[in-house]
């Protein structure tokens, strides 16, 4: 009897201990929590509650071909789950590749996050634009929310082995990116294009952080692709809009060009043909 009680007590104690271990693990990995990273365009351009100027009568003048800057709006949160500088660069290079072949774009410069992080507001944007000689700047802001929820099968995590084998964690990552294109001289918003994406998946408790990291990266990549498509459409709408409402003027830079002209050498050559023709004519006449 006594032996039986001791066995039961040991089993109960073991259950409680393993469950506690799993719970501790669970908590450490951040299950059943909401995590997120974001950067706000408005907070960046108008810090400390600044208000955009009203009744600004300046009309943006775009001098084609344009020199475009492309940058992520810096995120000031200390969340390490955010995009790394390398990933940001990779994503922006993809966007650059989609637009750099356009005739009206001279070049697109990817601006590192750190350049914009030195300050806030249009003052910093102006400094960077002057540094790179930009006409317009495209600022990409983002918001990514990640949820990790347990499914019913997560009960098997209590067995410890289940934490390795059972896919009891449901991860979903929702990403929103928004690109706003500003005229550098007038600070006016020309147009904007959003991109959204939702990535869902399940993983084991052990693999959950890795799965989440990959889902976050995939979420950003797909949202940026969606944004690129929308940006192309918005660009076409913008081109049509400015033709009708004249809210933006477009001029061309003095580029390389010239005329096609018959030179003096060509004219001398043609005079040479007069002689050839005359020679052939008189020879034919003599034969007749």
């Amino acid at each position: 009897m006594n032996k039986k009680r001791i066995t039961l007590l040991a089993v109960a104690l073991l259950s409680v201990l393993t469950a506690s271990c799993t719970n501790l693990w669970h908590d450490m990995l951040g299950s059943n929590v909401r995590q997120g990273v974001s950067s706000s365009l408005v907070d960046y351009l108008y810090p400390e509650g600044e208000i955009p100027p009203t009744n600004d009568q300046n009309t943006p003048n775009l001098q084609l071909p344009l020199r475009v800057g492309l940058a992520f709006v810096p995120s000031y949160s200390n969340n390490v789950e955010g995009l790394s500088e390398a990933n940001k660069n990779l994503l922006l290079e993809k966007v650059k590749a989609s637009f750099s072949t356009r005739d009206y774009i001279k070049d697109i410069t990817v601006i590192p996050d750190t350049y914009l992080r030195s300050g806030k507001g249009f003052k910093t944007v102006d400094q960077v634009s002057r540094l790179y000689g930009l006409d317009v700047i495209a600022l990409v802001s983002y918001d990514q929310v990640a949820h990790v929820d347990d499914t019913k099968s997560s009960i098997l995590y209590w067995t410890v082995v289940g934490a390795y084998l059972v896919k009891g964690s449901k991860n979903d990552v929702q990403t929103f990116v928004d690109t706003a294109i500003f005229d550098v001289k007038t600070h006016k918003l020309l147009f904007r294009a959003p991109g959204i994406n939702k990535v869902e998946g399940t993983s084991t408790l052990v693999n959950s952080p890795e799965h989440m990291r990959k889902a976050r990266e995939e979420g950003f990549s797909l949202a940026m692709s969606d944004m690129t498509t929308n940006l192309e459409n918005e660009l076409e709408i913008f081109k049509d809009r400015i033709k009708s409402d004249k809210s933006v003027t477009v001029t061309h830079r003095d580029g390389y060009g010239g005329g096609g002209s018959f030179g003096f050498v060509s004219i001398l050559l043609l005079i040479g043909f007069v002689f050839i023709n005359s020679f052939l004519f008189y020879r034919a006449k003599q034969r007749m």
Partner: protein, 190 residues
């Protein structure tokens, strides 16, 4: 045996000549809308591919091209029927324009008839060769050499000083190429 326009006495040739003059005079009034402008063409103004040949930077530019045009019409116009010259104008204009778009992305603007004149010149010379006048092989060779020279050395200093703008020698290369291509596709009347 007849060797040039003077001996053909076809009055409609004169009509075509004046039509070209009229086209160029009109083109002169609308250079902004007619000239080759890469960005405008990219934005849908495709007519510029053809109209750019009928407007000129200034009267000196127009004058030199008119002299060339008069010579060409006198020597070679009788070789092909009128409709074939019309096709040649369209084919060679489009060829030169597309050549600019595809091969010369750095060229922002262009205007002038000389690209087309080089097409006509080559078409005329090949036409004469096809009619059995072998001496024109030399003429064709000289024209092709001149075009290559202009591309790599540039136009003569006198031309540059007279015109005071950049002469786009590539237009002449494309013109000569389009002329050769058109000639190979055409039959001449013997």
């Amino acid at each position: 045996m007849k060797y040039s326009y003077f001996y053909q006495q076809k009055k409609y040739h004169l009509l075509v000549f004046f039509l070209f003059i009229a086209l160029m005079a009109i083109g002169q009034q609308f250079t902004d809308s007619f000239q080759y402008d890469r960005l405008s063409i990219a934005n849908g103004e495709y007519w510029r591919i053809i109209t750019c040949h009928f407007c000129h930077i200034g009267w000196k530019h127009l004058l030199l091209n008119l002299i060339g045009f008069i010579f060409i019409i006198l020597f070679f116009f009788h070789i092909y029927p009128l409709v074939k010259w019309f096709y040649a104008t369209i084919f060679c204009s489009v060829f030169i324009g597309l050549g600019f778009l595809i091969l010369m992305p750095e060229l922002d603007w262009y205007m002038g008839l000389s690209g087309l004149l080089h097409s006509f010149l080559v078409i005329g010379l090949v036409g004469e060769i096809k009619r059995g006048r072998k001496l024109y092989y030399v003429g064709l060779l000289v024209v092709l050499l001149k075009v290559v020279m202009e591309k790599y050395v540039g136009p003569s200093i006198y031309t540059r000083q007279f015109l005071e703008f950049t002469v786009i020698a590539d237009a002449h290369v494309l013109g000569a190429l389009s002329g050769l291509m058109f000639s190979f596709l055409s039959k001449v009347k013997k």
